[in-house]
Amino acid sequence: MLGFKLAYRNLIGAGLRTWLNVIVLSFSFVVIIWHKGLLEGWNQQARKDMIAWQIGGGVYWHENYDPYDPFTLQDSHGKITSQIQNEIAQDKLTPILIEQAIIYPDGRMQSVLMKGIDPRQTILELPSTRLYSDIEEVPVMIGSRMAKNNRLEVGDFVTVRWRDANGVFDAAEAKIVKIFKSNVPAIDNGQIWIPIERLWTMTKLNNEATILIVNRDYVKANTFNGWNFKDHDFLLAEMDQIIHQKSVGGSILYVILLFLAMLAIFDTQVLSIFRRQKEIGTHLALGMTRGQVIKLFTIEGAMHSVLAAIVAAIYGIPLLSIQAIRGFSIPIATDDYGLASAERIFPNYSAALVIGTILIVLITATIVSYLPTRKIAKMKPTEALKGKIQ
């Protein structure tokens, strides 16, 4: 307790020197918490959006389906059995049939994935009800990225060409009936969505599907012959990995910040021990043991981080709270990361994040503060009293 009392007196008494270190260190606190919170918020938002728009409570893949190999699409579809149909009727599953196609927007040729979805489905956030249409053309729904890349707007007509189950090419005129906006690029870029029944007719793959999306509220997944269930852990693994990589990249930033702050503390400590030799000698003369003096100087250095946490809280809590409420604007180009990203990310600052950061900084500051103080153990009190460099 005495060590803390004296260290506090010394720090406060040192004035500007202390506050400069404290302010630099407080920046580290705020930036680390902000950056980690932002990534955590992004992670949570991306997961939420992927679940809402793309994968629901999990996905049954047809046994031949491989999303990374478009050539397998021709064979990766299976009959919707009565058992599956029963689940669909209860709104526990919704089927999606995926076929390759080519569209000709504005005279250009564009390969796309043509996805058939039940317009009545409510499992995914996709506004599929907009595909109800009595028009002669194929009603098509596309994402905003697809629309932008192909300069398509609602009401535009576009020719679609595909191969049916017999390998025969066919083509039809399609009409853009809806452009949806989603944070999930994986359901948007290079894809067109049409009613599944229309796709069954077009491809002669009646009552077939490539994947079956499971309702989020439907916990238990049944086993269907010829279909493999993929859970969230599997489907979100890639995104987790991207977030992890971004987190590692971001860590470099705060390691640099932390390093600078620690350098300031280390420098202060080395300078203190160099300049305050007479004071160290006086401490010893007045009855402190070398261990007590080392402890005092170490606490003094480490207390920078305690003061920094307080200072960081004073300006950091309002700043970070405002950002947590208002969100952080992400540039459109962030879509290029291939990661579901909203226009605004709402950082998530958990207690574990804040406490963890404080502990990391406190432990690092204590170690950095301790290292130079070991010199004190070798000091002769008589030399220290004269302020002689030892």
Partner: protein, 232 residues
Amino acid sequence: MENSHIVILEKLVKRFPMGVRKFTALDGIDLSFGKGEFAGFVGPSGSGKTTLLNIIGSLDTPSEGKAVVLGHSISALTHKDAANLRNKHLGFIFQTYNLFPVYTVYENVEFPLLLLKIPADERKKMVLEAIEWVGLIDKIKSKPAQLSGGESQRVAIARAMVKKPEIVLADEPTANLDAQNSHHILQTMENLNKDLKTTFLFATHDEKVIKYLKRKITLFDGKVAKDKLKEQ
């Protein structure tokens, strides 16, 4: 006889390494001091005054011989025991005051009591009493930078005296002070010596201090050249 002495030095030798050779700072010192003495080591620079004071203060150890302070053999003390001895029984006054620059007068004087873990109420009483002894009650919140040399040394005296130690060791306490301040300081110490029966040991070559000493031990080349009591 030996029991009444609080400091006993026998055949005390102190050598310092100087390159490959050794410099003998103290060479066979035999001295003893009783409670309440107001004595001083005088002599030219390099005569061994400060070295002797440092050994009595357990800040240094003898190379040979015996130094017993308040029953503790200095050579046998561990770092911790030596710190304990200084903490409980010894007070130091330095030529350059050695006040903690970031502490106020009150905090500087309070410091030794914090180490002794004296309860807050009692501590406050003792600090105020010590500051009153040296007449600086109006400067209680001042920091050392705001004090004159004389005032700083009076704070150092209060700090040395606040725990009422058995022995106060003062190394050139008036070297940085003018005549008026020196006399004021010495009178303060003389009064404390009378009132509290504290033993004061000085290392000095200042005539102003020497006039006040009741026992003057002249050192020359690390040896006791003269040990003279002041005539009453």
